[in-house]
Symmetry: C2
Subunit: 315 residues, 2 copies
């Protein structure tokens, strides 16, 4: 059994801290992650540099990373203009976030649901104009799907309605995102089953979880049990959670990979090499705290990861 | 659906820190926890005071706590002598730990497996001599059941063999304990099923988890999914983990209760009242760090816990 770990630290992690990581350090991080076995990385966001100066070099990072054979390069885009830039840079996967809470969407992006869906439709058109082999994978991310700090509960019917609108607008699939740390293992499984029941298993393969209230890794296990195969996480949980001091923002890649490898589920990632990437990141990120427990405790004595072939080499 | 949260902070938490919490503060903690809805507390350990001065007042604490109607008072005992003291003080539940790794048993307790089993047999005799209504529940705790920092992997056959010996010696049930933080969700479920298959569901209802490598809450969810109903945890994860700075020792009661209540599973515990107990503990414990995320982030907007009856009052 295998899962895909999608490293989002260079985007979601770095956008959450004030410090700007130098372009060369980002490149080194990405190449080290690749060498450790990471096969998908969300490297940045195509937003105006004045809004997120931390990610101003996204186009350059995408161009660099797409030269690494076999690595899937994902990028976040807020609208069709960003998508055009992402396509020009060569991104393999484009993610458009849509906040299921319209209050949150208006507060954070100043856009109604209808306006975001219209952007999705325009991105779908942009992609269909490309030759078939050059089309990026297009995901609509259902953020605040498990609840919103402004609206509270988000009805499942609303999530399904927006998922349908995104798929009709041209998204290849939707993703679930617990932006606010409101999800629990049961709500994760319930939402996955509802989306699969409505749109089929191909419409949803991944989830983006935060650890705001300590349930992030449990929610990932619940999503895996329900059948999802792609998990966003960030190295060292970089960026933290502004609402919970001591909590990572995204779930921590190291702990997530440790869980899967311990369970006999292959991530393709060598844990010791991943810990070395963490060491590198800590060295270049200054005072910014990193999170996670497995790298501090180290691997269990005699630990046998799933990602080992019979000759003992990492696959 | 309901689960029982067994608060072990006054024993496992306090024995892991150098500071000695005053007896009056322990009593206040226990009574506040009771008021918040906690229904089982492991209040101490009947070991010589010179070994664990933090728990030297265990007999007094047991006598105090047994006066709280409806609260189950558990105590750890290292041997039959400790069990006799626990019985004299009036403990409702007695737990004898047996380390599944004999190397660990010899290093930490200077006892072979056979010697610990013999203590279990003597405790069983002590209990059978009591009038039927006065017999405490007797649990044999299978510590290092998921692996040992000295031996590495502990074979499942060894865990089953020791469980059988404990049950034959007179234990009412066995408990699983991941002393070392080696467990993962799959190994937790596999071990539960193996024990149930061999000895029936009555032989195992509870699990004691640590968060050493970040999987503690995920392991608790996995154990719940497999069918266990009793979960040890400690308030604020007090005591920490000496092997993983920043990690709690035991899983954190607040996050565990939040998970269950969010999932619609009743713990009987009022989360806001539990957070108030944490505040109290932080106030009396000095510089000792507390862990957990839910109390820092607070409850989600519009959160509806499972433990609410139709009149809106906490059950």
């Amino acid at each position: 059994m295998e899962v895909l770990i999608s490293e989002v630290g260079p985007r979601d992690g770095l956008q959450s801290i004030a410090q700007i990581l130098p372009t060369e350090a980002k490149k080194k991080w990405i190449s080290m992650a690749w060498e450790a076995g990471v096969r998908e990385i969300e490297v940045g966001s195509f937003v105006p540099a004045k809004l997120l100066p931390q990610l101003a070099d996204t186009a350059e990072i995408v161009r660099y990373a797409t030269q690494i054979e076999g690595l899937t390069i994902a990028a976040l885009v807020p609208n069709a203009r960003g998508a055009a830039d992402a396509i020009a840079a060569g991104a393999h996967k484009i993610t458009l976030p849509l906040s299921c809470s319209e209050t949150h969407s208006l507060a954070n992006l100043r856009r109604t649901h209808a306006q975001v869906i219209e952007e999705a439709r325009r991105i779908g058109e942009l992609i269909r104009e490309l030759p078939e082999g050059e089309r990026p994978h297009f995901e609509g991310s259902l953020s605040t799907a498990f609840g919103c700090t402004l609206e509270g509960e988000v009805p499942q019917a609303k999530v399904l309605e927006l998922a349908e609108a995104l798929l009709e607008a041209g998204c290849d699939e939707v993703g679930l995102a617990d932006t606010t740390g409101y999800a629990d293992p049961r709500s994760v499984q319930t939402m996955i089953r509802a989306l699969w029941s409505a749109f089929g298993k191909g419409a949803l393969t991944g989830i983006h979880l935060h650890n705001t209230r300590g349930l992030g890794i449990a929610n990932a296990f619940a999503a895996f049990e329900a059948g999802l195969t792609t998990f966003d996480s960030s190295l060292g949980g970089i960026g933290g959670c502004p609402f919970a001091p001591g909590a990572s923002g995204n779930i921590v890649t190291e702990d997530l990979v440790f869980m899967f490898e311990a369970m006999g589920v292959k991530t393709g990632i060598d844990l010791e090499a991943l810990f070395a990437v963490r060491e590198y990141l800590q060295g270049v990120i200054g005072d910014e705290p990193l999170y996670g427990f497995a790298p501090l405790a180290g691997l269990p004595l005699g630990f046998t990861p799933a990602t080992i072939d019979r000759t003992g080499a990492t696959e």
